[in-house]
């Protein structure tokens, strides 16, 4: 019996090639996307789930309560030691300080090989390797207690010392620190937020970051100075957090500090997802993606149901015969399910290979290392199985019931009509579902694209085009002056400035300030920008009161922004000029000499901060060069040559300012790319179904069209028969999609302080674009019907 089912299914599919193509293509695309989305979602949810007792591992994080609350994944460096020495709640506790973009030099005897490791390095306490499952393949973790030892991964060992045993070899870090390889770590799994592949003893942190190595420094917090703990069995994080106030009282003599710092335990499972503490992906995005996957499957199934039900009429004779010959309802139902299963199986197999082909592109887009394997990944195998069964029943049940329910007498006489296949209304409803999904995705695409465009094109208050940022690897005044003056003398270079960071940057230095003669520090932190006297002119910042500061090597004179003027409750920028200001406790006071117009110093997700600009060459890490872009072709190689001559021990890199701004919206850009692709696919699947529907309608209406034409209807009247049907469905779909899409996108935009308005244009554009797409899809087929010779169409009847 089953063999017979599949045999007839296969022949039916072969006979109806276009029907088969539309169904298989739609399902294949839908399933391909859902496989990819499943892999992405599962990969994201599996971050750092391979450690032992993940449920009892926490990161200590800090909430900073100023006039608003800000969050950091870091803690003061001494906190971890105090928690370990003075409390008993931890089974294991480790501090780790990470640095990005590490320069590693290997001296092979003949020459020095330099590598810039983007993932950076970590100074870690030995217990780090008890907490986290990063096993050593060579060496012992105790080696991380001795200075000048290092662990590297197998991958790096192979890269630095190909064909040699890495143990005992020397690497030089940042041209200052010689370390001996004492351990080789197994390569890191793809799904971990701990990306560093070089580990050095925590006690050696002083060599790269003396301020955080100071055991008394309880007020300086860096995002990358982190403390991890595994709680003993039976200890709850809440009970640990209750211990923190007493600890604060002991180590913070200053009452104000006690009110600012609040330590919390963040579960390991939250780290990847919590944006407050630099989590990479918000869980909402992951669920949204899963929802899109579900939408695509629904769209593909809707196609199937629609076409199969429409096709049911053409199979009425077969069903009638089978019933006459004794076929029972459930047998006919299962026969159709078997057919659907065959199509689904075919689509799933093709989809799997398509997903395999597409995964490298997805990996590139998302900068991930996801893999796809049917045999090695039982989750994926289970997902595919469940998906295939689900799709089979979702798509096959309704048409199966309709077919199995045919009255044999009517079926044999060909007297079944639309009413017998559930009428038009159900298929209309399904088309509405499909269009709603497409329009929802189109609305999302328009809003996300609009917001990104707005973020890129809005005047940020400073120049970002044609500005190149060159790194200053060491704070050697002579070298940086040489670099800057030589750059400035090149033809095509318009301005140059030495600075810590550009006006908008991910690297920010937040400090408390005391203004004028006020007794207490202000209840907010300012964002401190450091640059030389050319900073304003290079970045095109506008001075609205006072003057620029004079050239100086240290901070005597300050510029502030309008926001700071307001936050200080001053009536005008002029009022700030000449007043004293002290930035960071214990530092000498300086004088405010000018006020600059506000500029966007964060991404559009953050409010414009109160800002102080001053000069201090000891902090400069960049040389910003404003150049004439017409000469960029000659200038960039010249920059590289000059830079390499100035810093021969380091590796040259550069970045355009607009690229660095674009990095603020990396997640959104990726999101947009994904939504665009998936919306495109949803629309395409919908169009396939629409084409199938309209073809079917055209056949059904052949006689009606013929009669109408004989009675005097013109081409446009005939087109309108189809047009009004689909236009009505589109508008109904829009009435569903617009409020839902509006709600989703309103919530999404709330992430941005500076955002585009969600106005009627967005929705009209979505509606209009679906109308255009639908018209293009059905246009050819309807026109063919409308132009058909009525004599011919009536004769065929």
């Amino acid at each position: 019996m089953i063999k017979n089912y599949f045999k007839i299914a296969w022949r039916h599919l072969q006979r109806n090639k276009s029907y088969t193509f539309i169904n298989v293509a739609g399902l294949t695309l839908g399933i391909t996307c859902s496989i990819l989305i499943f892999i992405i979602v599962r990969f994201q949810l599996s971050f750092d789930d391979f450690h032992k007792d993940t449920g009892s591992i926490y990161r200590v994080v800090t909430d900073l309560h100023h006039d608003n609350i800000s969050y950091t994944s870091g803690t003061p460096a001494p906190l971890g030691k105090a928690l370990r020495d003075e409390y008993t709640f931890s089974e294991k506790l480790a501090r780790v300080r990470t640095f990005g973009n590490t320069l590693v030099s290997i001296n092979s005897g003949k020459e020095v090989h330099k590598f810039v490791e983007k993932e950076g390095l970590a100074f870690a306490e030995p217990e780090f390797f008890d907490l986290f499952n990063f096993p050593l393949v060579k060496g012992d973790k105790s080696a991380l207690t001795a200075p000048n030892n290092a662990f590297i991964t197998e991958k790096l060992a192979h890269k630095y010392f190909p064909g040699k045993d890495a143990i005992g070899q020397t690497i030089r870090i940042e041209n200052s620190l010689n370390c001996t390889i004492a351990g080789v770590l197994k390569d890191l799994p793809a799904a971990t937020d701990r990306v560093e592949q070089i580990y050095l003893p925590f006690i050696q942190m002083k060599d790269l970051d003396p301020s955080h190595a100071d055991p008394g420094n309880w007020t300086s917090i860096n995002n990358n100075m982190q403390t991890f703990v595994r709680l003993k069995k039976g200890i709850s994080p809440a009970s640990v957090e209750k211990l923190f106030p007493a600890l604060m009282n002991k180590y913070y003599v200053d009452n104000r500090a006690r009110t600012i710092y609040h330590f919390r335990l963040q579960p390991l499972g939250d780290i990847h997802f919590n944006p407050n503490y630099s989590g990479l992906v918000e869980k909402e995005y992951i669920w949204a993606l899963a929802l899109v996957g579900l939408f695509l499957i629904i769209t593909a199934c809707v196609n199937f149901v629609n076409l199969a039900t429409a096709q049911a009429l053409t199979r009425s004779k077969e069903i009638g015969v089978r019933k006459v010959l004794g076929g029972r309802r459930f047998q006919l139902f299962w026969q159709f399910i078997a057919e659907t299963a065959l199509i689904t199986l075919l689509a799933t197999v093709i989809a799997f290979f398509l997903a395999k082909e597409a995964l490298p592109y997805v990996n590139q887009l998302l900068e991930m290392r996801m893999t796809i394997s049917f045999s090695a990944d039982t989750w994926l195998a289970a997902f595919l199985l469940i998906l295939a069964v689900l799709v089979t029943f979702l798509a096959g049940s309704y048409p199966g019931l309709v077919l199995a329910g045919f009255q044999p007498v009517l079926a044999l006489k060909g007297k079944l009509n639309q009413q017998h296949i559930g009428g038009f209304s159900l298929r209309r409803a399904l088309v509405i579902v499909q269009f709603s999904i497409s329009q929802l995705l189109i609305i999302s695409t328009i809003v996300i694209a609009g917001q990104i465009h707005y973020s890129r094109k809005t005047d940020l208050g400073f120049i970002k085009d044609g500005v190149v940022l060159l790194p200053l690897p060491i704070q050697d005044k002579q070298k940086m002056d040489h670099l800057r003056t030589t750059l400035a003398s090149m033809t095509g270079v318009e301005k140059t400035s030495l600075c810590f960071s550009p006006p908008a940057s991910g690297d920010n230095d937040l400090d408390a300030i005391t203004f004028d003669n006020r007794a207490k520090p202000e209840p907010f932190n300012i964002n401190e920008k450091r640059g030389d006297d050319q900073y304003l002119s290079t970045f095109g910042l506008t001075l609205i009161a006072g003057r620029n500061f004079f050239p100086s090597d240290s901070a005597h004179e300050y510029l502030i922004n309008e926001t700071l003027v307001r936050k200080l409750n001053l009536s005008s920028p002029q009022e700030a000029i000449g007043k004293s200001i002290s930035v960071e406790e214990g530092k000498p006071k300086g004088t405010i000499v000018g006020v600059v117009k506000d500029f966007y110093n964060y991404s559009f997700k953050g409010e414009i901060a109160p800002i102080c600009i001053n000069s201090n060459y000891r902090t400069y890490s960049l040389c910003a060069v404003k150049l004439n872009m017409a000469r960029a072709g000659q200038l960039l190689p010249a920059f590289e040559k000059l830079w390499n001559n100035t810093y021969p021990e380091y590796n040259y890199t550069y970045q355009f300012m607009d690229d660095s701004i674009a990095e603020f919206y990396e997640v959104e850009t990726v999101l947009l790319a994904l939504i665009e692709v998936f919306a495109g696919i949803a629309i395409f699947i919908g169009c396939l179904g629409l084409y199938g529907m309209v073809s079917f309608m055209a056949v059904q209406k052949t006689k009606e069209i013929g009669v109408r034409k004989v009675l005097g209807a013109g081409v446009q009247d005939i087109l309108w028969i189809f047009g009004k049907e689909f236009l009505r469905l589109l508008i109904l779909a829009f009435l569903v999609a617009a409020p839902v899409g509006g709600w989703f996108m309103h919530n999404w935009l709330q992430d941005f302080v500076y955002r585009i308005p969600l106005n009627a244009q967005v929705f009209l554009l979505a509606l209009l674009s679906t109308i255009v797409i639908a018209t293009l899809t059905i246009g050819y087929r309807t026109l063919r019907s409308a132009l058909a010779n009525p004599v011919k169409s009536l004769r065929t009847e």
């Binding site: 019996m1 017979n4 045999k7 007839i8 022949r11 039916h12 006979r15 004779k317 077969e318 009638g320 015969v321 089978r322 019933k323 006459v324 010959l325 004794g326 076929g327 029972r328 309802r329 047998q331 009255q407 044999p408 007498v409 044999l412």
Partner: protein, 225 residues
């Protein structure tokens, strides 16, 4: 074998009520060959559908082989049908996606007959109908006469007690029509009861008895043999 008494069937739409069978009664004995004739709309097809257990009557009694079947549910009707009744239609009603062999095999599949036995029975009947050489062809590759022979083969493959034929020669030329009528006669001679709806006086002469219908009732019965 078949006894119907006072059989009624009424088709209703929102505004119109059509009486298809109006207190119809007759009997068919085992081994008989009966023709049912009458003008279009007289209720012949409705009668055949009810006799074939494809439709149920609104009133009256239908006794098949001593069992009252008028109000059987779909499952019971399908079961009784597949074991006892074979159908031959005017338009053959072969499944286009199946070969000759597979079309004939279908009733046996629904009866749950095992593969080797099925093969043997299908081959026997195809041989008998002289279409063995066409066993792997699809219906659309056959002539009308050949198609109807396949349909007859399909109707008899499960050795039914009763064959219901709905204008079996309606789509055939006279020579093919005669061949089919001869097939039915042969089957009848071997013991199969046949009830045939026809417009053709010529065909009706192959039967033992003619029931003439008008407006859902029998008007005359002619015994030919």
């Amino acid at each position: 074998m078949i006894k119907i008494s006072d059989l009624q069937k009424v088709y209703r739409t929102e505004e119109v009520e059509t009486v298809a069978l109006n207190h119809l009664s007759f009997e068919v004995k085992e081994g008989e060959f009966v023709s049912v004739m009458g003008p279009s709309g007289c209720g012949k097809s409705t009668l055949l559908n009810i006799l074939g257990l494809l439709d149920d009557p609104d009133g009256g009694s239908f006794i098949f082989n001593g069992t009252e079947v008028a109000h059987f549910n779909e499952r019971k009707r399908a079961d009784l049908r597949k074991r006892n009744i074979g159908f031959v239609f005017q338009s053959f009603n072969l499944i286009d996606e199946l070969t000759v062999f597979e079309n004939v095999e279908l009733p046996l599949i629904y009866l749950g007959v095992k593969g080797p036995e099925r093969k043997q029975r299908v081959e026997t009947v195809l041989d008998k109908m002289q279409i063995m050489h066409r066993r792997n062809h699809y219906p659309q590759q056959l002539s009308g006469g050949q198609q109807q022979r396949v349909a007859v083969a399909r109707a008899v493959v499960n050795n039914p007690k009763l064959i219901l034929a709905d204008e079996p020669t309606g789509n055939l030329d006279s020579s093919n029509g005669n061949e089919v009528m001869q097939l039915l006669t042969d089957l009848n001679e071997q013991g199969t009861t046949i009830i045939m709806v026809t417009h053709s006086e010529h065909d009706s002469r192959y039967s033992h008895r003619i029931i003439r219908m008008l407006d859902g009732q029998t008007v005359t019965e002619n015994i030919l043999v």
